[in-house]
Amino acid sequence: MSNPNPVSGSPDKEPATEAELALTGKADRGATMTSPKQSAPGPRPTLGRLFLDNLWAANTVTVTVLALVLAMLVGAVLIIVSDPDVLATYGYITARPTDALNASWTVVSEAYANLFKGAVFDPEASGFTAALSPISETLTYTAPLVFTGLSVALAFRGGLFNIGAQGQATMGVILAAVAGFALPLPPVVHLVVALIAGAAGGAVWGFVPGILKARTGAHEVINTIMLNYVAVYFLSWIIVQNGVQNPDRADAISRPVDSSAALPRLLGDNLRVHAGILLAVLATWAIAWLLNRSTLGFELRAVGANPDAARTAGISVTKTYVLVMVIAGMLAGLGGSQMVLGSTANALTPLVIAQIGFDGILVALLGRVKPWGVLLAALLFGALQAGGNRMQSYSGISLELVTVLQALIVIFIAAPALVKAIFQLRAARAARLQTSLAKGW
């Protein structure tokens, strides 16, 4: 072994010269050319992150429209299969195929026409109220979904899966209703107080999993799901308590909310659309601002994308987790409040909030967890819901078909992203196991 390195550079010899500067410039040009894009195995990618990336990469407007078309095609098959008369024509399809095709076309086109008429516009409608009724219905269903969708989306951007929008909305509806019938307040103040109560109820229900996550690392998915159950059973319990239950009724229904706490209707008493939709647009704008133009949103996105780097940069990850969940809970709570303060119902029942929390998850995914996207997705879901009601009563097609359509749309969009994310995660893991290839130094 001869001397391996006779020319080992001794430092601090030559003073810095202009040549050095020139060289530095040249160096970098060389550098950008020589160094290939390192697919360095950066921070361990999380499933959520990969999913989000794929969702954003895949989910263009075109894809959404195609998913909608595809879902409607599958829905058409379901309509045909579930109609015994139409199905019967398929028994002799080889003999007279036109029968089967005609019958299928009729039932499907009628169903979707009714869906459209119920959700957007009915050309046969006469008069102001009838013409606007579909839109009014759509917006009525849309408003709470915007809130729960925003709740899930915001948490997702902060790196948390908020499966608890349902529970948060439930707590929101309870507190809003109680504030709505128990407090004797003047009109506007009463509404504001009831909304604040609803938001607070949701916020508390978001705070609990948030603080558990921050302090103990307990996974928010488990905790929010558990709290959903707690909230649902709490609702069933509180409805039948003295002072809450409607004294005139024997079944599980609470006292009605005072009219002073109700959200004002926007287009007269015959149309159900209420001020909740305006609040929803306002909330969308506020969340968009919060995410993109505020320091809190910066922290939230940094923590969501890379908590290690956020912590190193001095951002308190625990504080951010708690705040994210509180705000998410507040939004869901506001969404829940509308279910009694708006026109859907005016008293608590065990099913008062329907599925708005769980639908919120779908809305958030469909809206690419971006605020304005959530608004549009909620609008689509609201339209399907409103149209579904008409489809059920006019074409006799069960309302569940709408749920199936909603699910299919989300599946067509989210599933590829999820599948890709899972495979990428596994590939990344495999690569780490094999060698740390690009991890040079």
């Binding site: 001397n3 601090d12 060389g30 890379n306």
Partner: protein, 515 residues
Amino acid sequence: MEPGEIHALLGENGAGKSTLMNVLYGLYQPDGGEILVDGKPLRLKGPSDAIRAGIGMVHQHFMLVPVFTVAENIMLGAEQVRGGIVGFLDRRRARREVAEVSARYNLRVDPDAVIEDLPVGIQQRVEIVKALTRDVDLLILDEPTAVLTPQETEELLTVMRSLKAAGKSIVFITHKLGEVKAIADRITVIRRGRTVGTASPEASRDELAALMVGRDVRLTVDKQPATPGRPILEVAGLVVDDDRQVRAVDGVDLTVRAGEVLGVAGVQGNGQTELIEAIMGLRPTLAGTVTLDGEPIHGWSTKKVLRAGVGYVPEDRSVDGLVKEFSVAENLVLDIYDRPPFGRGLALRPEAIAASAKERIEQFDVRTPSADAAVGTLSGGNQQKVIVARELSRPLKLFIAAQPTRGVDVGSIEFIHSRVVRERDVGTAVMVVSSELDEVIGLADRIAVMYRGRIIGIVGPDTPREEIGLLMAGITPDAPAPAPADGAATPGEATGGTAGGATPAPERPGNEDEA
């Protein structure tokens, strides 16, 4: 490749060396082209095909089961069984094989030792023995010296020579010029996935480096002698645990003065990371004090430490330094986003952020398509420049840079080094932690060597490399230092890398297998 040849594959990080070798070993499938062994084209579907074809590989990070013995690890994947379908593992035979191979190639390992108790250098030897028991003719060593101390590297080179004498061919992947010159018979240089030249080991370091990066390179850092001022950072008796509650920093005392660079050298995993994280408030201190300019800062939050005028370049930029999905502009304000002019109250000021980003990008020569490009799309060197730009763009008292040039191309290394020196010259106290000895020697005015959570020596930058190498291995000058047999100078940039195992322990070298 010819029999009995040591062929060095030289290239910068990300040049494609490891990928090429993974293809050879059957881990990756080639998109085109073919591999010839003894003139016959070869289709490799997996590592077992490669082993059958006589190709063995020692990975940069060892593929050993820590709780198994040497013999068990060696039989793993090629278990010999006896007793028919009952399938008893034939441990005795595995042990015999180990003993045989060790004797034949002079690679002494104890077949019954448990892997996790062995030092890194010996673990690597186990990997080599494992490959040899499979009767390979071609051995691929992927960056074998990255995790070794200089002395362990010496031993490895000795082993390689004896393998060569036994007629085995070796592909030796590295980006360290000194080792290449010491051992290779032929050198192939790879750049951006292409062979850019072959050289003989007589070529000078500068020639090789130029070939590697495609231009002339400066291997030294220009700087004036330091003019140290008052002490800025004083650490006394600091004790810190790592993530597994194992003592990582065990009573460290050090001082960094204004206008000087303190280099912290050491094999990775000897407490350097934990020391810095404790100073930055990212890790709780169990005992001891940290004072910044006379003010005790231990127990402060990271934000408060940063506000107090500390700049910090974390060791793993993609994990701790950057949010890859964020734009360059956003990453440039990652730790000052809420301070004027970038944020006021709850509101961010995107115009101010964009304006400052434009300025920094120019100042620090960040090569990016635009300030709005996601930082993850930049090259490693430019990503690092973003971090350095961010940290150096506010008034600092103390600048801590951990592995500031790891995985960074040579051009950016020069730039970052010059920035570090410039920061020192304006009177900031600078602490550079690096496992690249060259970097520490080049930048530092004083060098503190860390070993097993302690500073075991503080020396000047003119100290011979060998002496620092011994310190890094835990051997102080007063202790009886076993000299390596052939006593040659240690190859240059000898250390670095993540020691994969639980033990940070580089051990006393040189007493195991003097050839």
